[in-house]
Assembly symmetry: C2
Homo-oligomer: 290 residues x 2
Amino acid sequence: MSDLGRATLASSASEADAEPLRDARRLSFNQATAERASLRDVIDACARHDVPYISIWRHKLAELGLERAATLVRDAGLAVSSVCRGGMFPASTAAERAVRIDDNRRAIDEAATLGAEVLVLVCGAAPDRDISSAREMVADGIAAIAPYAKERGVRLGIEPLHPAFAAERSCITTMREARLIAERFDSVNVGVVVDVYHVWWDPERAEEIARLGDRIAGFHVNDWLVPVKNVLMNRGMMGDGVIELRRMRGEIERAGYRGPIEVEIFNESLWEEPLDEIVALTMKRFVDYV
Amino acid sequence: MSDLGRATLASSASEADAEPLRDARRLSFNQATAERASLRDVIDACARHDVPYISIWRHKLAELGLERAATLVRDAGLAVSSVCRGGMFPASTAAERAVRIDDNRRAIDEAATLGAEVLVLVCGAAPDRDISSAREMVADGIAAIAPYAKERGVRLGIEPLHPAFAAERSCITTMREARLIAERFDSVNVGVVVDVYHVWWDPERAEEIARLGDRIAGFHVNDWLVPVKNVLMNRGMMGDGVIELRRMRGEIERAGYRGPIEVEIFNESLWEEPLDEIVALTMKRFVDYV
């Protein structure tokens, strides 16, 4: 391709970017972004900064108590975009898999009590060297909890994780694979959560996002820092890494998604900052880069 | 799925495993497995242990000198399965991309002088946030060097890298994507190198290996250690990690590949061992686990 051809390619690509966001009205603050703060403090900070949505992790919920958390969230005027996380279905024995199913039912109850739109599923890794069997256990696990989720009015969101986590957290690594499982269910019952960190590299990204359509159950943003050291803690604030955030938001919006956009950043240095600064920086970068 | 169903699935899966190798006659010792040793010492060690093939990195070749290396390899009775590496095509300016093409031509010359079967291509990452344009630069770069590779009798092997390297080493991350580029050329001219570390997690792994067929230009083995810390140095000796090595060799062999199998392990702890122990361990694990 000539340089002229390349220039044309680049400009047509930039036309595919979403228009800048004018405000933070779709922002959901995922609590993992301020992991060292208590849930109570994060709820207060979101209210103080007029952040409209929050995403809550279950270990933080356990510290505060479910009913107390639900009251505080309601009183603060916050909506809960998601609860993190259900899943972790594969295990080496049927008994242990049954324990995981029970835990997922409790997660569904918690999400229902909080009025959360989605329970995010991090599906779990193979207990041995057999990743294909683990994938079947994931599909079986989702089938086992889907009716109860429907009954409680909680949507399940399968989150494909970056392949770097395939051995430890999720044998489900691509949007295509997540979609093929989700399509066994009603789209209001089971969808797919798209986190830019996990899928930005996928050569079929744009096509898969388009195919997801109303299956998109959430959109998570952050950034992929360079150079990579610890792959779990390699997430950065939007704008600090290499992900084409506006192009991905364009893909997501053309697919029809207009819901909350969660900022979820696992980053030790960020966690050392004061909570108010984390929230203020999140809002600024959200408007500037997403 | 019932537990009975699961047991059936597991046993049918194990039937898909390759038969154990009886010896190391297909072993190629990739020099990166003993990164701290000189090329001369690695050639001597391979000859001493009756390792039939070697894979040589260009920075080691530069230290020893090309002609000298070719003589030593020939005198030792070793065959060269591959030279690592060409590629690194994307760059922000046309002038810099032209420099990369020239360097790839030199790599082809080196591979030809050594009688190497394959020049491995690590394709390079995007110079900016535009991974789609980088992919076009890769396809353009391969098109620019393929005729010269054919003229010199060197096969180009596109190696898709694990998505954890997408921002720093290769925008080409899946076998499917590598195959789609390779299919623009004759299969004797451009193939795909399958390294278990990079592709073991891929849900379309078995189907893609089957589709590759005579495009398979190399098979690299090692293992994926758990837990992951530094993703570049996370490779282990075969048997120390979670990769289904025999199942993957079964997939590769059913696709028709019967060539050398390279052991390529980037691992700081392994590199600290004496060279003879590294080679002996490599041979043992090759027969026991691959």
